[in-house]
Amino acid sequence: MESNKHFVLGVYEDEDVLLDAVGKVRESGVKIHEVYSPFPVHGLDGALGYKMTRLPKAAFMFGLLGTTLALTMQIGMLGFDWPMIIGGKDFFSIPPFIPVTFELTVLLSALGMVGTFMIVSDLKPYKKPRIYDIRITDDKHVMAIDLAKNKMSKDEIKKIIQGSGASEVNDKDFEE
């Protein structure tokens, strides 16, 4: 398979330089694909202009689904399908349903959130990981720029990155 993903990588030594560089690169009109760092860098999300995640909304919807499923299941089972008298309580007695409802709400909310996160982060089990630079797990910060998403030429982008304080500027291609 021929190489179809082309990236330019800027390697940075220090997180303060990186934060500064992210601002400069974005100002000059280059779209940054992603920044990889060996540890969480405070303020990076803001510098990259990321919007707040919508994951909590997904969690709420999954939770609501769990609540509905749990109540439907219990009311259906104990109210219609096979009514049983337990401890002299009504068939529709909400208090004993609450523990199960709570558990299913939490379970679906958590599983749904993990699933959603996997999907939006493109983390499939058979996914071949892109390793931009092995040193991002050690001591280097790497800014990846997708050439397909930028109108500028490769050389122009390289120049901008070089000027922003990167210690190295590399090419990286992936075949997918």
């Binding site: 405070h42 909590p56 709420f60 401890g87 309580k89 208090p95 004993p96 609450i98 523990p99």
Partner: protein, 452 residues
């Protein structure tokens, strides 16, 4: 960092005074109307309750509580007239409620030290100021215990401790040592009164010690004060775990002396704790809106908002654990507690209001991230919780004392307002005495850079 001081202005004092005077007026009007006119209405009301809810009332009357009361002759412990009992009940509700605010102030500070929390370094003076209510609460609790005595605490009636054949109460006699030891049962509840004194004594002592370290740190900036305060805090937390639980049995659960719940210590603590957090948050927000506490930003509000959100759910969890077990086991001596509260129309609405104000509204309104970061939303939710937990204590105390005579009206609102004004007066005037945040706190920098 420059020092920041809160000034308790004359206009703020005046506003509080006006609220206090309105409270007194409401209390007086309410008391007079319950002494005269209101009485007939209440009588009618009671009759309505009986006719419309024959089954429930019947079961209530056959309950062990009532049967026991019949046995040892009504006259003695019914004591004072309903209006006076109502006054005493309210006195006791507000004693417990505001003691909670004071002790939670200290508890919050202690938790922050023991967990070495940095985020709260800028707001610890507010809970510390709230804890200044403790000495007053202790005095009030002790004095009013002797005032309300038989009217609120049925177990203080000497007749209960006669031999069972002569109208004594076997269940209460089994618990008597908890109150009367080491004196003769039925005489003076020395152990009980001693506990009030010792608990408040311990709490006030630790409050003084921790406060001393906090204020000394402002002057010389030595980090040793932080270490000493942490040591006191850790010891205090252990003591508080035991004392708060026993206090809940003594001051609230013993009002229904035949009944018991192993969840009760936690239940009262949960109610105190979330309410205290709500008051701290509200004071922080109001101070911020008046131009103080510039070092507190939405990240700190987010954290304290999460605290309130989380502990609203915690309170519900405890409430529900207590309710579900009693509901499911269906043992008469336990269910009587909920029959009293759900079977009478004057408490039924409070029962559901309690859940709406303390669970559903905070849960839904504080769920999103933005709600916890914005002062406008916090300012809506905190008063809901503060009012909600007042009703929680109303529901714990009133039905056990007033039974079918319990109502809600001007007396309740007025008394709560008077206590609230007194509490705020003590809190705010003590807040003004020290800098609004500790400029030498070793974690102040961490707090300033707090980011979530």
């Amino acid at each position: 960092m420059t020092e920041e001081r809160f000034s308790f202005t004359a206009s703020a004092k005046k506003t509080l005074m006006i609220v206090g005077v309105i409270g007194i007026v409401l209390l007086v009007v309410g008391t007079i109307s319950s002494m005269s006119g209101g009485h007939a209405e209440e009588g009618e009301h009671a009759i309505n309750t009986i006719t419309s809810q024959t089954d429930l009332t019947a079961s209530l009357e056959e309950g062990p509580e009532h049967a026991a009361e019949e046995a040892h002759g009504g006259g003695e412990h019914h004591g004072s007239a309903p209006w006076l009992k109502r006054l005493f009940t309210n006195l006791w509700i507000n004693n417990i409620y505001f003691t909670g605010l004071g002790i939670i102030g200290l508890f919050f500070v202690a938790i922050q030290y023991a967990t070495q929390a940095g985020w709260s370094a800028g707001m610890k003076r507010i809970p510390l100021a709230m804890a200044h209510w403790l000495p007053i609460a202790g005095g009030l609790m002790l004095i009013s215990w002797f005032v309300v005595n038989h009217d609120v605490f049925h177990w203080t009636s000497a007749g209960l401790y006669a031999p069972v054949a002569e109208g004594g109460d076997e269940i209460i006699q089994g618990k008597a040592a908890m109150w009367y030891w080491p004196l003769e049962i039925g005489s003076f509840p020395l152990f009980y009164v001693l506990r009030i004194v010792v608990f408040f004594g311990l709490w006030i002592m630790f409050f003084m010690w921790i406060k001393k370290e906090m204020l000394a740190e402002d002057l010389d900036g030595d980090v040793k004060h932080w270490y000493t305060a942490r040591k006191y805090s850790a010891i205090f937390l252990v003591i508080f775990a035991v004392t708060s639980s026993i206090a809940a049995w003594d001051w609230v659960m013993s009002i229904d002396p035949h009944w018991f719940s192993t969840m009760f210590g936690w239940y009262v603590f949960a109610s105190w704790w979330v309410n205290g957090l709500a008051v701290i948050t509200l004071i922080v927000v109001v101070l911020k809106q008046n131009g103080y506490l510039s070092i507190i930003n939405s990240n700190h509000l987010h954290d304290i908002g999460k605290f309130v959100f989380g502990f609203s759910i915690f309170w519900t969890y405890i409430w529900f654990s207590q309710f579900l077990l009693i509901y499911y086991a269906n043992i008469p001596e336990e269910t009587v507690y909920f029959i009293e509260r759900l079977g009478a129309s004057q408490y039924k609405w409070v029962f559901f209001l309690n859940l709406i104000l303390n669970f559903f509204l905070p849960f839904l309104l504080l769920m999103t991230r933005d709600a916890k970061r914005h002062m406008s939303m916090l300012k809506v939710v905190m008063p809901i919780i503060i009012v909600g937990h007042w009703f929680d204590f109303y529901l714990m105390i009133t039905p056990g004392v007033m039974q079918k005579d319990g109502t809600f009206g001007f007396v309740e609102i007025g008394m709560a307002m008077i206590f609230g004004v007194a509490f705020l007066f003590v809190t705010l005037s003590n807040l003004a005495k020290a800098p609004l945040f500790a400029k030498n706190h070793p974690m102040l920098q961490e707090s300033l850079h707090h980011h979530i």
